[in-house]
Amino acid sequence: MIRLEPRAAPSKLMAMLSPLIAILLTLIAGALLFALLGQDPVEALRVYFLSPFDDAYMRAEVLVKAIPLALMGAGLAVCFRANVWNIGAAGQFTLGAIGAGAAALFIPAESPFAMLAVPLIAGALCGMAWAAIPAALRTRLSVNEILVSLMLTYVAALLLDWLVRGPWRNPRGFGFPQTNAFPEWAHVPLLVEGTRLHVGAFLAVAAAAGLWLMMSRTLRGLRLRVTGAAPRAARFAGFSAAGDVWFVLLLSGGLAGLAGALEATSIVGRLQPEIGAQAGFTAIIVAFLGRLNPLGALLGALVLAVSAIGGENAQILLRLPKNVAGVFQGMLLFFLLACDSLIAYRPRLVARRRA
């Protein structure tokens, strides 16, 4: 039997290096996986992790993929720091897309509200509203926020599905489950012509930097950190735990909603059942890879975006199944958590005792 014993003084250096070690281990395990799939591991890894940098368009695509991951990852980093486990960013993302879609589809072009900020704000508010459900249940009835936020993801996906197949379906869409294309005013401007890179990139950087400042320099950040690290010290300091739960869930939900709204108004341009909400789960890995630091989440988002684009390239060039990208992400999170555990705990073999 292996027992994990807490280490007296976990190494600070190792804690910093843990994401790099995890990435390295993922590469090794990935090479093994490719070899087992009958691929040349070196070539496969090249396609996976280097081909996304091959040309300007690819590089822009990496950034495009990183935008929602960074927005959500930064919000989740704050949330997890406070020991509140919002696992439902995907659902809040979906609601954000729905909110943005409602604004884009139903505000007439001549209205003074026909400006891009409106669908984005609507999306953020819808994401917050969706996250308010686990917040209310947790603070009022002590219901576990992990289950509620996770299950609401499926509710959100079904809601979107119903809308685009039912009331909001484009009557001239040849029966495809999708809405009308959004009007021109509800499109996010591009940063670089000829790519899909849009101004959402600035929002992602601003959100990460702003949250980092909040966490390190303000009372709000301090109380979130104290609540997460030592709930008893937070009570002693007079911080209300319920207030913190509300704050971090609304914050991370709002950012996920904003990410969904950006995705709908930039990449997709309409509502359809598949709008990339899966990124809400990937963002959990992003937050951990970034050491639960909002700025770190920015880097984590880039790493995950590279592997996502690489996964697409591998599908095309190597005819590898799409799920390999998911396997990579899973391995990365697994190795990351394993590294963190082994940095904090020392495994010890002990003789199994008969009862």
């Binding site: 009372l219 104290v226 690290a229 008893r232 010290a233 300091a237 003789a351 005792r353 008969r354 009862a355």
Partner: protein
């Protein structure tokens, strides 16, 4: 698994009065701290033997070694005359050493029967059910084995724990503070069962700090104080006073204390009929606590662990609110419904027993700990909730200089400080505010002698400047060194506060052990 290789035939041919168990010169050290210092103890077959001592005297450490959960640093154990080396609790159980834990380890969601089954070698549940009902009937320990444990009272849960031990046919049963959570009636039931058990030849090692119980139940008592055996007596032939003296020690009488007749200021803290329900099955309810505290005086609240000190502290700091605002008044203002920050604004300051994780966050730098209790002060925060690093750095430096807090670097994480230095910093954090009221739990706990003396003199100085000081401590030496008046907390009730001048450790010890008889009656 280093089982004793000697064949069992040797141990079977022994006289009846040969010791069942013997400990010789047992020493247990943790670093420089000696928890057990050459402890000798002998248990005869069928004997009911008490291990008495204050909290922290080393009782639990000692029994954990008997049960194989800890290994002694020095010394030897003997089982029926043969040297005994235990590799772990499982081996202890095989030999017939059973232990019923203070906070018994039962699974809430499972039935009583399933909980018992988990501790035993596999056997059909139906057969076990029969055995449980049999043993429970034999010993007068009524329990319905099919009931889920969460539906059982605390007393019933303990019976489950006891039945679990009894089904293993123990020859030595260790009970660690078994009555600490029982009603007097439940305790009575337990005593009857223990008497029957020992009449059948099972020896019992009974760990307690309750003198009356020990006198009622046990024929021999070994008394520990600070890890050493101070006496081995027949408790029935010894007065409660002598037992208390051996437990808490008499030398502390000589500690110099202030005369207690200095002028006292106005009332700063008034607590009136404060009651608070227990917080969970192992919590203690506070019952009608009333006292008042004036500026310039130090009130010491003595008591052994788990008599309601944590609940008392939580109620005073505001971590748990009182049912009515008027139950707690700070500087005359009803404060019972205020949160800790609101109470701090009235001039109160608090120093909890646990420093890492309660008074401060272990991984966070010292300067950040200041914002936990002092963010309402001028200069601590800018508009919009920005923390002033300048203020925090300056205050950190000031506290470290004034209280001689030694640590590496300008702003190290709290966890990296030694116990004494962290406590000096956290006490300093509150004292430099010049509070009107300071409430400290176990200020000298886990602190080296030098730091403890520095903290005591800082508390005294604060009181001399006119502040009211309340010290909750299990350490009687600390109480006697500091307090002008002494009260004792026991089962969630606070005794009257007596002037320290007339108090002796024996009288405090009696108040602790015997509940609420008046000390005059005991003297």
């Amino acid at each position: 698994m280093t089982a004793d290789p000697s064949p069992p035939s040797f141990s079977s041919a022994v006289s009846a009065r040969r010791p069942l168990f013997e400990a010789r010169g047992i020493v247990k050290r943790y670093g420089s701290f000696t928890a057990n210092d050459h402890v000798d103890l002998t248990i005869l077959p069928g004997e009911r033997h008490a291990l008495l001592g204050e909290n922290g005297a080393g009782k639990s450490t000692f029994v954990k070694m008997i049960y194989g959960a800890l290994q002694p640093t020095e010394g030897e154990f003997f089982w029926e005359g043969e040297p005994l080396r235990l590799s772990g609790p499982a081996e202890a159980r095989r030999l017939g050493i059973g232990m019923a834990f203070q906070h018994f380890s039962v699974f809430e969601g499972l039935s009583a029967l399933e909980n018992v089954a988990l501790a035993l070698p596999p056997e059909p549940l139906a057969a076990l059910d029969r055995r449980v009902r049999e043993v429970s009937g034999d010993y007068g320990l009524p329990v319905d084995p099919s009931k889920p444990v969460h539906a059982l009272s605390v007393g019933e849960r303990q019976r489950v724990e006891l039945l679990r031990c009894l089904l293993q046919n123990p020859r030595l049963l260790i009970l660690d503070e078994p009555t600490s959570v029982l009603t007097p009636q439940e305790a009575e039931t337990l005593f009857r069962a223990l008497e029957k058990l020992s009449a059948e030849g099972c020896a019992i090692l009974y760990i307690s700090h309750r003198l009356e119980e020990v006198r009622a139940l046990c024929s021999r008592a070994t008394i520990l104080r600070r890890g050493k055996v101070t006496a081995e007596v027949d408790p029935r032939a010894t007065t409660a006073r002598a037992l208390a003296e051996a437990m808490v020690g008499a030398e502390i009488l000589d500690v110099k204390r202030p005369s207690g007749d200095q002028p006292r200021g106005e009332e700063i803290l008034q607590v009136e009929r404060l009651s608070l329900p227990a917080d969970g099955p192992f919590g203690v309810a506070l019952k009608e606590i009333s006292f008042s505290l004036r500026g310039g005086e130090i009130l010491g609240v003595a008591g052994v662990a788990g008599e309601g000190q944590n609940e008392f502290m939580d109620a005073l700091t505001g971590e748990r609110r009182a049912p009515e605002a008027g139950m707690i008044r700070i500087a005359g203002v009803p404060a019972g419904r205020l949160d800790p920050t609101g109470r701090r604004r009235l001039g109160a300051a608090f120093a909890p027993e646990e420093r890492n994780g309660h008074g401060a966050v272990g991984d966070a730098p010292l300067s950040e700990a200041l914002f936990l209790t002092r963010r309402h002060e001028a200069g601590a925060m800018g508009a919009g909730g920005w923390l002033s690093r300048f203020w925090a750095a300056g205050e950190t430096r000031r506290i470290r200089e004034r209280f001689d807090v030694r640590a590496a670097g300008d702003d190290p994480p709290a966890r990296s400080l030694s116990g004494g230095n962290l406590q000096k910093f956290l006490m300093g954090r509150e004292i430099v505010r010049a509070p009107k009221l300071l409430i400290a739990a176990q200020p000298g706990w886990g602190v080296d002698a030098g730091a403890a003396a520095a903290i005591q003199s800082a508390l005294r100085a604060l009181a001399d400047q006119g502040a009211a000081v309340l010290v909750v401590s299990q350490d009687l030496d600390e109480i006697f060194a500091l307090a002008d008046r002494i009260a004792v907390i026991s089962r969630g009730r606070l005794s009257e506060a007596y002037p320290a001048v007339g108090m002796t450790p024996e009288r405090v010890g009696l108040l602790m052990g015997a509940g609420h008889s008046s000390p005059e009656a005991a003297a």
